[in-house]
């Protein structure tokens, strides 16, 4: 009888706080060598990492932080410095030119070096997994935080795991899996398959580690969280931190009745928009679809959009830096960039799903990975790719796609060989794609450019 009461009384703030407390308790005082935290998109993963780092440092435990890219490391260093300007922090970097963000040089408490020995004794040292792998013959750290652990490959963890005694692993299981450029079928089914994700290997060998998850997405609006949760996290649902009505996107300039304007209105109203072009098999850089993406972006900026959210009661103008375009392939991104340049738009981020991971915008425009394709390959069906593209926005997401993707999904059975002993990933891309498309169909605007 108590369950429905809890349901109505769901307070995102306290639910998230309870989860964070439990994670920090297990990390600081638990007996297990590792703690795994699953975090859906925008659930405050970086905030958690920063908080855990500060508490571990306060408890006097030497800490190393492993992130996957230099940008992620620099971002964490800046956040740590912002939260606690007195905490000495080490940034271990590579010996390439410009190995780290120049903003770090302005911070007195941050020491940078390419040699781990120079940073010995600092309470927190941060670097990428690739750089940590070169650190040899040092006293192991008492604790480590591994960020984006689901995007880290098992062999990368193998290279650094000797450096720490205990670790907190944080990541988003719904995003893109790590990949290798050569076949690794030979090791499929082995618990330590080097091409698998670090967390899969970790849990296969240590099944008793405590696993937590963050229950609230602060990024995704109330219109998006249920879809993303159902389609990509069916067994570990999450909620949005804000409710319907907490956020709004308004446009100063009224619609001119064109396809791009109508889809913008639909997305501003409902959080989702599907601009559907007539069915056709096209090359990857489909000029019409690319042009449609560029026009939607152009109109978004021209129509004087303004976003109201829980962050500020006053409307914030929707500027180019708050808009992003996501594609599946690099050549598509390049084509969109060129099309935008022709329309005089420069500062909008255009990138592939891989590179958009972990980023956040007010509005995203997505070129659907299966748009115009004659086949549905594993790459284009990968759940993580669609999940990343559909979960970068705080207000609205507009998908540009050719008609006929549902038929394509039904026509193409999965042809990947079944490997014995591997974990089958749920949901599979086929199902997730169908779930997203059937939801988008309710927000469809058909348009012939």
């Amino acid at each position: 009888m108590t369950a429905p009461v809890e349901e109505t009384a769901f307070d995102p703030g306290s639910a998230a706080a309870r989860a964070t407390d439990a994670i920090l308790h297990d990390t600081l005082h638990g007996p297990a060598r590792g703690v795994v935290v699953d975090s859906p998109p925008g659930a405050g993963k970086s905030t958690l990492v920063v908080r855990a780092a500060l508490e571990l440092a306060e408890a006097g435990r030497p800490l190393m932080v492993v992130a996957q890219t230099n940008a992620q490391v620099d971002d964490l260093v800046l956040r740590l410095a912002e939260k606690n300007p007195d905490l000495p922090v080490g940034r271990l970097h590579s010996s390439d030119t410009d190995p780290y963000d120049k903003a770090l040089d302005a911070l007195d408490q941050v020491r940078t070096s390419a040699k781990a020995a120079d940073l010995a004794g600092l309470p927190v040292v941060l670097s990428t997994a690739a750089k940590w792998a070169h650190v040899k013959n040092v006293e192991p750290w008492q604790h480590a935080i591994v960020d984006e652990a689901y995007q880290m490959r098992s062999d990368a963890l193998l290279a650094v795991a000797g450096l720490f005694e205990r670790a907190l692993f944080v990541g988003d299981p719904g995003q893109l899996d790590p990949f290798s450029i050569v076949g690794a079928e030979q090791w499929a089914g082995l618990s330590y398959d080097p091409s698998g994700s670090a967390v899969t290997t970790l849990l296969a060998h240590n099944p008793d580690l405590p696993q937590h998850r963050l229950p609230v997405s602060w990024r995704l609006p109330a219109s998006a969280a249920p879809l993303v949760s159902d389609a990509f996290y069916p067994f570990t649902p999450f909620r949005s931190g804000t409710d319907h009505g907490d956020r709004a996107l308004t446009l100063a300039v009224p619609s001119d009745g064109s396809g791009p304007d109508r889809v913008i209105d639909e997305a501003a109203e409902s959080g989702w928009g599907l601009l559907e072009l007539p069915a056709r098999h096209t090359p990857r850089t489909d000029p019409e679809a690319v042009g449609a993406v560029a026009q939607v972006v152009r109109r978004l900026l021209d129509r004087g959009g303004a976003a109201v959210s829980e962050r500020s009661p006053d409307p914030t103008p929707l500027t180019a830096d708050r808009v992003a375009v996501g594609t599946a392939h690099r050549d598509q991104a390049a084509a969109v960039r060129a099309a935008l340049a022709d329309l005089g738009v420069s500062d909008v981020t255009v990138d592939t799903a891989n590179r958009l991971q972990g980023r956040e915008y007010d509005v995203t425009v997505v070129l659907h990975p299966l748009s115009g394709r004659p086949d549905a390959t594993a790459f284009h069906l990968e759940t993580g790719r669609l999940c990343v593209l559909a979960s970068r926005h705080r207000h609205a997401c507009i998908v540009v796609c050719r008609e006929g993707v549902t038929d394509l999904l039904d026509d193409y059975p999965s042809t990947e060989p079944v490997q014995l002993g591997t974990l089958v990933k749920f949901p599979d891309g086929w199902e997730a794609n169908h779930a997203v498309l059937s939801h988008l169909a309710e927000h469809r605007v058909r348009w012939r450019p």
Partner: protein
Amino acid sequence: MSLISTLARLEAVDTGRAQPAATVRHRHLSERPLVFVPLITAGEAGAPLGALVGTDRDAPRLLVVPQPRDRELRFAFLAELADVVLPYVDGFAEAVEAAERSETDPETGKRVKVEVELCADAPQMLVPSRAGVDLVRLLGRSMRFRRTAEQDPETPFPAPPRVPLLGRWLTHFGERARVPGSCLLLAMTDVLGRHWATGQSTLEDQHLGALLAWIDPPEGRSGAEAAEEAELARDDDGQLICPPAGPATDPAFDNKLLAPAIERYDRARTALAAAEDGVEADDRLGALTAAEREIRALVESRTRPTWDAVWRGLDLLRELPEGARVEERRTRDRWSFTAHRDRVAAGEPPQPRRDDAVTAANKLAAREREQARLEAQEALDDPLAMAARRLSGEAFAGEVVDVVMAYSESKRPSPRPLVTVRTDDRPHLGERVKAYRSLGGKPQTAEFVEYAAGPDDGLLVLRIMDKMGRGKEPEPGSVPEKGDRLCFTLFEHEPRGGAKLPDPEETPWTHGGPPGEDPAPEPADPVTEEDLL
């Protein structure tokens, strides 16, 4: 599939002939390869039916298992195979040259140079298709844990003396074949498919007969017609005129010819066993020999066309000049061969069933590095391969239209000349993206500075960063000059090695800890009912 290979395939359809996909040969071909054309028995995974094997195109050795479900006969086949393969492999083990290798000194922990032997050449095994490579691996797996009577007098079904050793070598060939660009074991369809683009799908290219029909169709016929005939044409008995390259056989052959012949053989054998006196036995032995001869003839009739096709493929490939960097990759094969030779000589146990965590990670890292190296080297060796990279925005070629001398802003200014290149390519450039060109075989680094007149005009300004010597003035020839035609790549020419992984004894807790101490050799697979006739 890259844009240029799609185009080549369309052209192949249009012209009715395969189009070149390379201007040089990207794989080393041994002067004395060992060609191996195996057949397996339908429904019996890994049970060989027969093979043609050898180094002389006019005199292959025919090996046949007249009753593939008989373990004794299978062992006899494998022993015969060992008699051909092992002397061939051993023939490369003797000739060595001195080489240097850096190793970590166990006492000081420093890298030191050690003088070691390197085999002067390495063997090369050729099979018709990719399925043949898998069979080599499977044969290796089935043999390397077998015990001979000498190793273990108690073993219930001792293997002939050299069979376990053959298993170890075939396993080594099979593993090495997974390394991109390696040439110890090659599938003819893969090598031909790398050098020609046909008008059919890559799956269809796995049919050696059809692939050759596209590349070199008979006089007056189109590749498409010839390929269709190779795939489908049957004789009056309903048998394929161009039998599949194997190791699987055509069901019509199995049902109509092979099964009755094996049955006759079985009957003859039973009759011989039941013979009551010497005269009768003599007669029945004659019948058995005749039945066996019939099966041998059948196997030869299915393997000989494939054998000839493999050699024809070799002829076609040998017409292409070898790529400049192929020899370097071949040297890696020689190291691999030498290392396995040494492991065998040192009495080490056969390769384990499964790699441990560290070995698996090391192999994956090595193969990713070799893949990157292969792609870079193929592009540098071959303008056609480079064209594919240029089309995909990973490289650009153009003419130098301006060079302005500039210097770095340090206490000892070094030359950092600005070079303007005019190109029609559309590389994916961003601020300070690195580009490399080959300067005397070594990569010279440049950084992208800006578009001289907007992204559409194709005027790129690059800053040259290195390989200009130590002085204030760059060494002669190290800076591009006006009018030079250059090709820059956005990918590195030499992939960087990754960090060293821990030793297997130091496998961390996240990966299950160190593998258990297990000094006992791995047992062979247990004998099951299915193993016995």
